[in-house]
Symmetry: C2
Subunit: 189 residues, 2 copies
Amino acid sequence: MQASLEQYIRDRIGADDAQLGEVLSHFVPLKTRRNQLLVREGDVCRYCYFIIKGCVQVFVYDRNGDESTRDIVVENNWVSELYSFGNQAPARENIRVVEPGQLMAIGFDSFQKMVQTVPPFEQIYRQIVEQSYVNSVFRLNTFVAMDALERMQWIKEYQPKLLARLSSKLVASYLGISPETYSRLKARL
Amino acid sequence: MQASLEQYIRDRIGADDAQLGEVLSHFVPLKTRRNQLLVREGDVCRYCYFIIKGCVQVFVYDRNGDESTRDIVVENNWVSELYSFGNQAPARENIRVVEPGQLMAIGFDSFQKMVQTVPPFEQIYRQIVEQSYVNSVFRLNTFVAMDALERMQWIKEYQPKLLARLSSKLVASYLGISPETYSRLKARL
DNA sequence: TGAAAACCTTGACAATTGTCAATGTTCGGC
DNA sequence: GCCGAACATTGACAATTGTCAAGGTTTTCA
């Protein structure tokens, strides 16, 4: 059930079972249903989630009220609206479940306490942020430097699994193009 | 000279002069000239820079060999190719001086040592990465959800100082549009 | 300071991408 | 398993953005 979170932390914390137990005790399991909203723009994001199973979408609404997907996160990764979570300020993004699955949630106070009192957990947190940052830089460069067709080639090369498991509509949103353009360009790959 | 770096660290480290001196001793001042390349794609990025004065551009080359600007960084901020620096792996981006100025550079080994032995420095580092991540998420959303005109309105509202000090060509590159389109849309603000 | 280079703007046109509408298909919940 | 809703595709057209070329202006640096 929560084995993958345990494994994830163990791989990074070493084998200190006391600390591991302490950390794990702050997480609560959460079964998610399709389309469930985890974070709503404007609300304060109170949890940081580890995805055991399933897939979530991080998005904002554009001028027309259409969804623009900033990120897609799958199992064995963390997801939260970090700005909101870290500052307990209103969220600027929405997070929604794409595929039903299983999460582990840790609240803000617990998270703070773990970061401050369990040094390996602080390191894990730093790694999460580092990894997230490197990913977003990578993704940013696809937008700054590529057109729609190149971004499609990019996702095909670097995120083939994502491409396979998401609806075309979601992939189009992830690439920042309309579903129609996506459908047309797909024929030219 | 290096007063602003000292102030920056002091604000975050508290007033422990011994630690402060230790940290500062690992930085070397660097006077930069216009167009100087700090990091070249493919090379390993060996330093992390604090900008005392001036302005640098982080960019990649697109299919046509044109520059696409992933970020612009000004004084009182840090800049490095974090992926390359952290892993001592080949850089994926270039960093170049836009305005001549003054930097403080810290090498990889020194940086590692400081992070591991001076806890407040580790916290500073974490804050840098957090801040960088939040910024890049913010910027990512402008690309996913906005068209060229909206991005121009965005920079005018959120980065007016940047807009004022950069050439039109650089701003256009920062927004991911051609200089010609930029010139035309400017008339419609 | 003066020459060369880079920059900014504008026009004409081409290419890319978006919008709206219609149709057939797939998928999810009961 | 069925029904309704959401999704995927295609066509026609409009809007946005890019490209190439030319001109005037500004900036750089020797």
